[in-house]
């Protein structure tokens, strides 16, 4: 029988496990692959496994566990057990570069590692630290929550660890459950990495909170097969993943809803997904807010996937320059780990200054229209909103890889051409003239002060974040 699950509100993973043992203990919680077939693990079995593992962890005498996330059942149980055992838990990308992992271990005081790959643990063991200093004051983790750290790549500075808790993550999942409730008949496919807060909350906790089953995706190798294997009804996806699924028509016929987040998404992509028979919802949030704070809710005929309703536990306001400010007592981060100045720069009182620009529509829905940090302030005091500016250039130079930078208060175009370092000066000049000619129409529509002042070439690929945004702050030359 189909039952609409009323979203429960949990304060800790311990409470979640208690509920799993007592309410519908036999209901499937997780679905994973074993011996080539999908296998179900019940709520009670999951709770028992986690509690046993937590007991074992308490006996280690360690303080901070780094989990190299692979999305497996073992990985999920380890994360829950670590939090239940009261350890500081740091979620890491198992596919990250060695040097980055070494730095992240050092930054967050990890003194023990978990990975399904023993070679990787062995490789990283020399970089383990003495752990975190034991707290002298008494601390009740059932009130404050256990710390779970996620790294944010950020778009303006190097990666920082954001301190969240099981409590804040569950509050964010509760938000999702209220906005987009799932039923006990639903199967949520978890394909996103668990070391990303969107993947952890919207790929895992959202389903758990609603009483749906969560199918654990089998990793990148199985992207093309997981839909037929698990027959999910709900999916959380980043825009790039959705684009891939739509392009290759991989979504199964049972799939009814896709929640898209963690990146900019084109209306064309969303409508292509809708044409393939799924409802699409768009979510906005940050690692700092434990994932989503505003979501579009499908249903009405005039549904606009980019018109976002603010979640029940959050309050959103716009500053005079349009910056989105968030107050979210239950979902807000504690801060950036060991970076109090960085925390103070964005978290003022109970308000998070997001660096994103938004506007309200006539129905009181939030629209995210860009990133404040993607604004170039020119020498004459005018500003360039980069997504719009670059879209104009993209239309004139289709298929070219480029970015726009500010140099000496003027906008400069940096074009990637891997041969450019070998060009003689005449060739460079000719190429520049050709590009200028191609851009003439686009530039002519802009005020003179906002027109490109220079066209530069580089033979190096542009440094990009995981979501494809150019890391402008890393480009120091030309």
């Amino acid at each position: 029988m189909k039952t609409k699950a009323f979203p429960p509100k949990y304060n800790s993973f311990t409470e979640v496990l208690r509920s799993f043992s007592q309410i519908d203990p036999d209901r499937p919680l997780l679905i994973y692959e074993e011996g080539g077939a999908p296998v179900k693990k019940s709520r009670a079995d999951f709770a028992a496994s986690v509690l046993a593992r937590a007991e074992e962890m308490r006996s280690f005498g360690m303080t901070c566990l780094g989990v190299l996330c692979d999305g497996s059942l073992d990985c999920v149980e380890t994360i829950f057990a670590s939090a239940v055992a009261g350890l500081q838990t740091v979620l890491l990308d198992e596919n990250a570069a060695d040097t980055l992992l070494q730095e992240q271990i050092r930054q967050t005081d990890i003194d023990i590692l978990w990975s399904s790959d023993p070679d990787l643990v062995e490789e990283l063991t020399p970089y383990l630290t003495d752990g975190i200093t034991p707290r002298t004051e008494s601390r009740d983790s059932s009130v404050e929550g256990s710390d779970i750290l996620f790294f944010t790549s950020g778009t303006t500075a190097s990666s920082k660890a954001v301190v969240l808790t099981d409590r804040s993550l569950l509050a964010a999942a509760y938000n999702g459950s209220c906005m987009l409730p799932l039923s006990s008949d639903d199967t949520l496919l978890c394909m996103l990495p668990l070391n990303h807060v969107f993947g952890f909350v919207c790929g895992l906790l959202w389903g758990m909170e609603c009483g749906a089953a969560v199918a654990l995706g089998r990793g990148a190798r199985y992207y093309t097969m997981d839909f037929e294997f698990y027959k999910p009804t709900v999916l959380s996806a980043v825009p790039l993943l959705l684009s891939f699924l739509v392009q290759h028509k991989l979504m199964n016929s049972e799939l009814r809803l896709v929640l898209v987040g963690a990146g900019d998404c084109s209306p064309q992509l969303l409508s292509s997904a809708v044409q393939q028979g799924v409802q699409v919802s768009f979510g906005y949030g940050l690692t700092e807010t434990s994932s989503g704070v505003a979501i579009s809710v499908p249903g009405s005929p005039s549904f606009d996937p980019f018109a976002l309703a603010v979640c029940p536990e959050d309050t959103v306001a716009l500053a005079s320059d349009g910056e989105i400010l968030i107050s979210s007592p239950s979902c807000m981060m504690k801060g950036y780990y060991k970076h109090p100045e960085d925390t103070a720069a964005v978290l003022k009182g109970n308000l998070l200054f997001t660096g994103d620009i938004g506007k309200w529509d006539e129905n009181g829905r939030l629209h995210v229209i860009g990133r404040k940090k993607e604004i170039l302030v020119l020498a004459d005091g005018t500003k360039i909103f980069l997504p719009e500016y670059e879209a104009r250039i993209m239309a004139a130079l289709p298929g070219r890889d480029f970015t726009v930078l500010e140099r000496d208060g003027k906008p400069v175009l940096l074009l990637v051409d891997k041969e450019s370092s070998t060009w003689p000066e005449e060739m460079r000049e000719l190429s520049r003239s050709m590009v200028q000619e191609e851009l003439r129409g686009a530039m002519s529509q802009l005020p003179r002060g906002q027109q490109l002042s220079e066209i530069l070439f580089t033979d190096k690929p542009l440094p990009r974040t995981a979501t494809g945004k150019v890391k402008r702050w890393e480009i120091t030359s030309p």
Binding site: E94, N95, A220, R221, Y223, S243, F244, H248, K418
Partner: protein, 84 residues
């Protein structure tokens, strides 16, 4: 297996996965990210198909280290013709 055969299969699979690239030359030094229309998801698909075609596995941690078409060919060459 001859390296030339591996190169040929790699090209074939890329053109299969990204039909828009059909006819565009793929040299050993072609940079996947910036010289081709292959995005990270497309790259994943290509590697998976090549793994199936050659019946070898490239550890996922190495995927991001393959920058050029030549790197992809080398990675498979090394595993198919394992040299100790």
């Amino acid at each position: 297996m001859e390296r030339s055969k591996i190169v040929e299969t790699c090209r074939e699979v890329i053109y299969e996965c990204v039909p828009d690239m059909e006819g565009q030359p793929l040299y050993e030094d072609t940079v996947i990210n910036t010289d081709t229309a292959i995005d990270s998801m497309g790259f994943t698909m290509i590697i998976c198909r090549l793994e199936a075609r050659f019946d070898v596995k490239i550890p996922q941690r190495q995927w991001s280290k393959m920058s050029t078409f030549g790197d992809v060919v080398n990675a498979f060459d090394k595993r198919i013709n394992r040299r100790f």
